[in-house]
């Protein structure tokens, strides 16, 4: 069975918890463990936080989340239309951050660790799209 959702909301910090809760509820339709749900919540929280903090900064704009699953494959796409990432390779280095006072530079590290796949597409002053995939293995009942 294939199922999907699409969420569009303003890229503000108050929506970070809403976003991770909605995606977690959606993912819970699969035969998923609590640990896997926690992984997904952290990954979504990091992705949306990046949209707010880095994508939009002082700008206003929407975040779009598209989540879908088919059989055991859960895909979560988080997209903003903000400043974009000038150098994706550098941004992916653990500890790299453009805001060293407040950020640990671990957002992408967490996304990569908690999901099975992470793909980042970005263009300066166009936006950033993060595609995350998690395989949810079929489990025996009982």
């Amino acid at each position: 069975m294939k199922n999907w959702i699409e969420l569009v909301f303003p890229g503000t910090s108050i929506n970070v918890s809403f976003a991770r809760a909605v995606v977690a509820h959606f993912a819970a339709q699969l035969d998923i463990t609590l640990d896997e749900l926690e992984d997904i919540k952290v990954a979504v929280s990091e992705a949306v936080s990046n949209c707010v903090v880095h994508g939009y900064r002082e700008k206003e704009g929407n975040v779009v989340i598209r989540a879908s699953y088919e059989e055991s494959r859960l895909e979560i796409i988080v997209e903003d239309f903000g400043h974009g990432i000038p150098d994706i390779e550098v941004a992916q280095e653990t500890g790299y951050t453009t805001l060293p006072e407040e950020r640990m530079g671990l957002g992408l590290t967490f996304m990569r660790e908690y999901m099975d796949e992470l793909h980042i597409y970005s263009e300066v002053e166009v936006g950033t799209k993060v595609v995350m995939v998690k395989q949810i293995p079929a489990r025996q009942a009982g």
């Binding site: 910090s13 108050i14 970070v16 918890s17 991770r20 640990d35 926690e38 919540k41 952290v42 929280s45 990091e46 936080s49 707010v52 903090v53 006072e101 407040e102 950020r103 640990m104 530079g105 671990l106 957002g107 590290t109 967490f110 660790e113």
Partner: protein, 112 residues
């Protein structure tokens, strides 16, 4: 997210309840900073995370930032009753190298 901050001797004890993320961390950060500024004798930071339901790198950034402040005073960082998931997040962030996971705040206070 709710929190309570208490200073006992050289220890600042912060009890967290709820989610610590990008939206909730500024208020927590301000309260921690104020408590550290007004209690210059504080060396150790003790975070009771038993009822902390969620943390991401935004929340960890606040904790690490305040740890850096007390590190200069020779202080230490403790997490009380961190769940297995919380420990995993903390370890992934490398926090286990600069902190101790303990079972109670009393355990930390008794060391002083």
């Amino acid at each position: 997210m709710q929190f309570n901050i208490t200073v006992i001797g050289q220890a600042l004890i912060a009890t967290l309840d709820g989610d610590l993320d990008l939206h909730t961390c500024p208020q927590f950060k301000d309260a921690l900073t104020k408590a550290l500024d007004t209690n210059s004798n504080v060396k150790n930071l003790v975070f009771d995370v038993q009822n902390l339901t969620f943390i991401d790198s935004s929340g960890l950034g606040v904790i690490l930032g305040r740890y850096r402040a007390v590190q200069a005073r020779g202080g230490k960082l403790f997490f009380v009753k961190a769940s297995p998931h919380m420990q995993r997040v903390l370890k992934l962030a490398g926090m286990h190298r600069i902190s101790e996971f303990v079972d109670s705040t009393t355990e930390v206070l008794n060391r002083a």
